[in-house]
Chain length 310, copies 2
């Protein structure tokens, strides 16, 4: 049956409780009819330390978010106002685009909006193709550390995501046996060739009091602890210095499989961190050269000789 149909059909199933949203999502996928385009479910974005759903569908290769607003959404003026502010924030922070489908209309009106959206998506894909920055969806590579080791570079847009900690260690030539501590597993390991870098795999699930909230779109991880003293100690330890972490975020994917997804290079943000919040990590690099350990904020700008600005 194949990975892609397995993936998309599970994504459909997962959205099926919201009837109209589900109708819209299935239509977008089928009418796009592009096997090279990856469609992802809800993305979470934290703002003011609260975690909430940002968008219903996300196309990582082109940075497009889709929000499907069922009629009830428009009953509340305050909600509409908040949405607009939030959307504006995301656009400014990330350069991502957010499209809204207004489901107060009838079938013809909804279809018209989807047609327009699809034409925008195709335009963005074709632009990337013409600039040679489009990366087709290749699930068989995404999960294969040897593929990336050979390539010598990883970037956010590659959607690199491994199934085991051993795979992460293999990518960097680190000794996986050192990640074990009796029956426990450490939360990360030193980079074997660059002592200033730490390879970290924080989890979306709380682990022995540690709790991480992650805003993938804006690139912010908040590392905190339910115990006051542990949180304060952790904050004070990191606040003294500047730390750099290569981060693989640990989560269960739509197929129910464990994933460690490469989400960039982070440093502790000394302005945002404090004893109460904990340590806040901000993304400073999207692209990483595996041999030299050099990182860069955006890969596209370089590839395209700065012609294409997001």
């Amino acid at each position: 049956m194949g990975y892609k149909i397995d993936y998309i059909s599970r994504l459909f199933q997962r959205t099926s409780s919201k009837r109209i949203e589900h109708y819209v999502i299935t239509r977008i996928w089928h009418l796009l009819d592009n096997y090279d385009l990856k469609m992802m479910p809800q993305q979470y974005v934290s703002r003011d330390q609260t975690k909430y759903a940002l968008t219903d569908v996300y196309f990582p290769q082109i940075g497009f978010h889709i929000e499907v607003n069922e009629p009830a959404h428009y009953d509340n003026d305050e909600k509409i106002r908040r949405d607009l502010i939030r959307e504006n924030d995301v656009r400014q922070n990330t350069g991502h685009k957010i499209f809204t489908i207004d489901c107060r209309e009838d079938i013809i009106g909804i279809h018209k909006q989807i047609d327009d959206l699809i034409s925008e998506i195709n335009k963005a894909v074709n632009k990337k193709i013409s600039l040679d920055t489009f990366k087709p969806w290749r699930p068989e590579n995404e999960h294969n550390p040897t593929f990336w080791k050979t390539k010598g570079k990883i970037d956010l847009t590659d959607e690199v995501s491994f199934h085991t900690i051993e795979d992460i260690c293999h990518l960097f030539g680190a000794d996986a046996s050192k990640t074990k501590r009796g029956f426990l597993r450490k939360g990360g390991i030193q980079h074997p060739n660059n002592y200033k870098m730490f390879i970290w795999w924080p989890s979306e699930r709380p682990r022995s009091g540690w709790l991480n909230t992650f805003d993938e779109i804006n690139g912010i991880i908040t590392e905190t602890h339910t115990d006051n003293q542990k949180r304060i100690d952790h904050y004070n330890y990191h606040a003294k210095d500047s730390h750099i972490r290569i981060v693989f975020y640990h989560f269960k994917d739509i197929l129910g499989l464990t994933n460690y997804k490469y989400v960039g290079i982070y440093t502790n943000d000394r302005e945002k961190s404090n004893e109460e919040t904990g340590t806040v990590w901000t993304r400073i690099g999207e692209s990483l050269n595996l041999e030299t350990t050099e990182y860069q904020q955006k890969e596209e700008e370089r590839n395209a000789n700065n012609v294409y600005k997001k």
Copy 2:
């Protein structure tokens, strides 16, 4: 939001437990992209007195059935053989067409099969349009007795389906107050202008021991009773003579609403009926003239001057 998107999105939701079937169904609908075409969920067909699912999707306007076979379906040779026999029976009995989507293939293979199917559906629709026998999906008319009273004729392909017994009575000019018996509701009423005809609204749900099984595609209703003596008496009463019934089948539709759907003119089949099975009713008419009470087996053959044979 409108009836059609409400209807289709509920149909999608209802099929979402079977992941690949659901993927295929959503794709067929979106790529057909034809608001005039009604898509229906599972149709049941009885054979040898057993009730079982015939097909996953049905297009009543063109008599097309779609079966989506998930990979596990092919594990069992006996199942495949039975399917072929059954499909052949349906084709011969009704002239309907059955298409099978084989989901053992990958996404490209499955999409190719759906493309071929869509082109077959479009061909059938265009043929009907050119013969002037295509009836666009008009839910606002389907449920409106005044519309059909004015038109003066109903046919299976009209998908006439009322929400109340009052609506049925209104169509025939019958006295709805005579359908009430205290707190109970009678199962039917005499036709006011033709004493040989009985207007009947059997239910898919058992009612005080009475149980009906209905094969809509082949046009067979089996009326039986859990109590031996009642079933035998009922059989013997009807076996003596030939009875004619105009039938509106009572069921809950995909929107959760009560429906009485016009399913044709039936007569008691004296060969198939017996004391054990109960009374079997066979469809003898699809099209009914409301003024003259004349009925005909097929409407299309007449309209198209027998040019178009199903």
